[in-house]
Symmetry: C2
Subunit: 315 residues, 2 copies
């Protein structure tokens, strides 16, 4: 089985939409963009043993590689359209590849994303790079750089779950039903595409949570030239997470666990947001944009020490 046969068998969609003039199989794909739209381009890599443990199921590796990129598309308020996949594998593993391709296909199908090309290579370690091109109305892209003092800081879902899920996965122990839910949050993050699109009309800035809530809010504020504070008592913490660890540890995971792929955004506080749900996704007000520089934490209005240990490469 050679590279071309593998790509044909596992990764070529049965049908393409009208936007794909030429898909997998030529030197490049030919795509027909929607007239009048801007493009949004994102690319993210997952390395085995670095970004996910080797015990993660092949289908979850595939699903997750797509989902983390969709999360960036969501954070820009864009609509995902086309994807390329660059896969480096250490050996021929037909069963692994079939499962991996199934995960890729499931994530793509769930969001109307089409695989149009890529490359398959051999290396010492599994490395998966997904690149997605999306579309957004001109001037409607959400960036990190629009937060204004006085606005609220909001987050979707319940950060911290994925980090705890990873811990359970790495422990090798069989999780209870709450634990399985946490593992699922790591293995199959939900890309907040619909939320991102709905926020285009309401949010002043947005970022997706990959490195940890505290660190990612810092980045958003830095890009916006503003300061902010997080109110620890208002952090959304899931029941399974509170069941798994003491509250203090849960808070630490929420603030710097990482791998959440939720959206964090800033917006003027409106009734629309006070409803606590946008596009069917729970959103919680967790802090406030202020004048100045930097991010700090408060508990019931009192300054709180917090040492971030969010994830960074090459530190």
């Amino acid at each position: 089985v050679d590279e071309f046969e593998i790509i044909r068998r596992y990764f070529t969609p049965a049908t393409y939409s009208d936007s794909v003039v030429i898909g997998v199989g030529d030197d490049g794909a030919v795509l027909r963009p929607t007239p009048g739209m801007e493009l949004v381009a994102v690319a993210d890599t997952m390395v085995a043993g670095v970004h996910y443990p080797d015990v993660l199921a092949a289908a979850d590796v595939g699903y997750r590689a797509v989902a983390v990129n969709l999360s960036d598309i969501a954070a820009m308020g864009a609509i995902p359209r086309w994807m390329t996949l660059a896969l480096t594998l250490s050996a021929e593993q037909p069963a692994w590849l079939a499962d991996f391709a199934r995960g890729i296909t499931q994530a793509a199908a769930a969001f109307g994303l089409e695989l149009v090309g890529g490359d398959m290579t051999r290396g010492e370690q599994t490395v998966v790079t997904v690149q997605i091109t999306g579309e957004v109305l001109p001037g409607q892209a959400l960036t990190r750089a629009g937060a204004h003092p006085g606005e609220g800081i909001y987050v979707s879902g319940t950060p911290g779950d994925a980090a705890m899920g990873l811990r359970i996965l790495q422990s090798g122990s069989k999780p209870d039903s709450g634990g399985a839910e946490l593992v699922q949050r790591f293995a199959r993050p939900t890309a907040r595409i619909a939320l991102g699109r709905a926020l285009a009309a309401h949010a002043s800035a947005a970022i997706d949570l990959s490195d940890g809530l505290f660190s990612d809010v810092e980045k958003l504020l830095h890009a916006s030239g503003a300061a902010g504070c997080l109110a620890l008592e208002s952090l959304p913490i899931s029941a399974p997470l509170l069941h798994a660890v003491p509250r203090e540890e849960a808070e630490r995971l929420v603030l710097s666990g990482g791998d959440d792929y939720e959206l964090c955004f800033t917006a003027a506080d409106t009734e629309f947001l006070a409803a606590g749900e946008v596009a069917g996704v729970p959103v919680t007000r967790i802090g406030e944009v202020r004048e100045g520089r930097g991010l700090h934490c408060e508990r019931h209005g009192q300054l709180c020490e917090f040492r971030d240990d969010g994830y960074r490469h090459f530190q």
Copy 2:
């Protein structure tokens, strides 16, 4: 020095064209496509020790990673526009990174390509994935699937040089001036962008040479549903290659050496092509499209045995 600082320092262009609304630094890049054009998407990975030897200079690794992708854009007859870069490195290597970034930047600048985003990760081995989006007039993309019996098979430049260059590089011996030229053909392949664009009006099918001339012509003919023959006496062989090895070995390198990144195309034989040069690039008629299936070689009209050992992953 963290990931963000590295990306900012080495990979953020000083200025962007008007087509880049948002470049490196947000969750995604926002791009303004040219109205009425179709998009062409390509992605290719280079793994250290697999696709290039570890002795290859960092700047050449960067240049080559861009050039092999530009070659796919050229084979589609498209204009390169925007690039994302996914870089996996085994350790922090500031000097290597600075040189690598210089190579990336040189290749991009030479072809009007803009780096708009990407990802940097840690792994056991250096893995470089470049994704390029180009543009082409609707219906003008060159594919592999348009060759007709009776047309000529043409190739640009002198295939085989790069494979010999790689051999010299791996030998570790100091090359003479001809040898240095061959090494350069491996280290810094010339993407045939102008040729690809000029061929849009003349060629019926095209492919870029990465795995080896014989194997890549086979792919083109297979996609076109046609057969073909290569006339061994007409293969273009460079003076440095003929100086380095006996003619028989040179022919073998031309046919199955790989890493050429020249264009091979089929076209009706016209005076335009008989001139032997298109867009300033030498082109040579090396064979003919025929009815049927498969590719064979002839020498002065006599059938010639040829066992292809072109490069494939996962065989």
